[in-house]
Assembly symmetry: C2
Homo-oligomer: 417 residues x 2
Amino acid sequence: METEAFAGCGPLLRPADAAQKPLRQLVFEHLRAHGQLPRVQVAKDLGVSPASVTTITSELIESALLEEVQTPRQADTGRGRPAVALRVRPGAHHVIGIKLSDRRHTAVIADLSGQVVASAAAQREIRPLSRAQLLDDVEALMRDVCAEAGLTPGDLCGMGLGIPGFIDGETRTVLWSPILQGRDTEIASALARRLGMPVEIDNDANLLTLAELWFGVGRTISDFAVVTIEQGVGMGFVINQRLYRGARGVGMELGHAKVHLDGALCRCGQRGCLEAYVADYALVREARTALNLPDMEDRSVSVLLEGLLRQAKSGNPAAHSIFRRAGRYLALALANVSNLFDPELIILSGERMRYDYLYANETLREMNTMTLDTGRKPPKVEIHAWGDMVWARGAAALALQSLTEQMLGSARDVAAQ
Amino acid sequence: METEAFAGCGPLLRPADAAQKPLRQLVFEHLRAHGQLPRVQVAKDLGVSPASVTTITSELIESALLEEVQTPRQADTGRGRPAVALRVRPGAHHVIGIKLSDRRHTAVIADLSGQVVASAAAQREIRPLSRAQLLDDVEALMRDVCAEAGLTPGDLCGMGLGIPGFIDGETRTVLWSPILQGRDTEIASALARRLGMPVEIDNDANLLTLAELWFGVGRTISDFAVVTIEQGVGMGFVINQRLYRGARGVGMELGHAKVHLDGALCRCGQRGCLEAYVADYALVREARTALNLPDMEDRSVSVLLEGLLRQAKSGNPAAHSIFRRAGRYLALALANVSNLFDPELIILSGERMRYDYLYANETLREMNTMTLDTGRKPPKVEIHAWGDMVWARGAAALALQSLTEQMLGSARDVAAQ
């Protein structure tokens, strides 16, 4: 509840604070979250009168955004006529979600209820793209996934795009990304013009977090952290059922939080970042030393990492120390997330979670010894080793969120006045 | 604006999200924040009709919570009749705010508009108090400050109490405090029964932050961090004009964020906490080494620290290195606040800000070199070396907030239904 999570409400409320989502948007989102519910339950859950829910749902059925479904008779009595529930009409609209990354781009098409109806992927070379190449890649992948779904691009109502790096969601600018050449690159408007649909962009970890919020733990927990470990380290944070991006929109950069003064060199150019101890590139640069490999020998990152892990498990102390150090710095960073944000749950996610060194019991124990002892339980830690498609589904959720706002949100109120 | 700061709003909104502050509370708080305003300006600022503001303000004048004031004719024309503005009626109610600390307790009495009408302080010995002693101290200080104000305790409508340590604001329990013996100590209800008024408690850094929100930078900035350095290190964070305490209410413990794996021992029992490098006790334990003093020689902390600072300034390299190290770890921690929360402003506050070693340009430069380069400006850093009375005023704001909620908030709506 808002008033509990932010109990220290100041006096200088700005006008927008007095505004809120229109009830029709609340009703629609509540039904999307719950699958299907009778009208009376919606009214109860939202604390409004059944009459106002009936008025609104009639309008939404009229607009073909909701539909009625028959539910079985109540199991406990077996009597009475079948109840009528409401749900979001799945086929009404479709959006596309794309996750761009340095090895493989992935895409899904989702319907209005958030269900995935098609997916596609494209392998790529590991090198930063030019802006033109990135736009081409997105368009090609969109055509592939449309073909898969039996849709045309014209059938899509919007796109959500997840990109690793520093993204300014407000100006929809890529401030910096490891997969893109240059800085301060505007791509959302260019894509929107080219593809003829609204395009929203965000940091990829935020979109995985959005997927958790819409389709995962967010259905029951209102505040949680998602820490992702892949080629880099990312983080998303949900406060009171909402994605928090930091005060100016580019916070939550746990991968670049400093865990050691004057520490290891990070690819961001600074020293002592968490990434510089736990990301792929950090492990790889020490792997050559541990495995006694010549600097120039050409092995792929994944081959090197698999070899390193094998050596660590079979007792090579140098190989083992690389993973132990990574695990200990990860423990320190997670403890700091707990000390600062005090979440009930931290979810570890991303490709590296397939390896167990990072979330070995030892690491979690160390995290707890560095978490402030307030006398209460430390946060739960869960491992969710989702594949790329869940990230892309989070990107689709971003597009759906924007679409819902546009169809049912306060913007329409203003226009209607 | 809520929707901008938390742009990733999920679908599973809970019923309470649909609720909001009653307009009469918004009107009252808006006037308290701005001092005085004409009705028409209040309506404009809050985006509601002048008629509804007139209705509400009539009710609030009737209840003696607001009053009318004549404002001078418009300067530009010199014509027309004097305009009428509204303001909070200062004498209507009084609250008390108390800051407890290990060397000196302080108290203020504030009127309904937040203005301080009296203050008092009590020196004390540095040792953890028993619960009974703490309750006695609070009552004695309350009597002193009441006498100062010419009021009796019966004239007070509530108390706000700031305590260092880990405070659970929801259960109003002191989980742990350096000034109190034992753990999990309930004091708010006991004080409320004994003093006959509602008592709210919070971590002292949160209350200094509340003072900034109500009476300082919060009047113009909606998101900022306050980092306090005194006997310990504290932090408060304002997100969208509201104090954020972490998901479960005991976050923002920057003093116990780890800045070094297996680092210096902290009085919390863990290693590598920021406090263990920058707090008084951390400097003092190295000061004896730097100044070549016997372990047992009895000097007060402040005498030791003044001596150390003098030595550092006159070129003693050991003394200098203590402050430099403290400054560098502080820089790392502030950079992490920036990397995670991306605030526009970080305020450094507390007693230690009188010493310049901590915020020397060198420290701020180092902070910037560890702050993620997103291509935008790093956060501003301001030094606010407030005295204890401002902390106590923040405690009074906590009491006022609770009083306002009780008089005008949604609780009354429920009762009225």
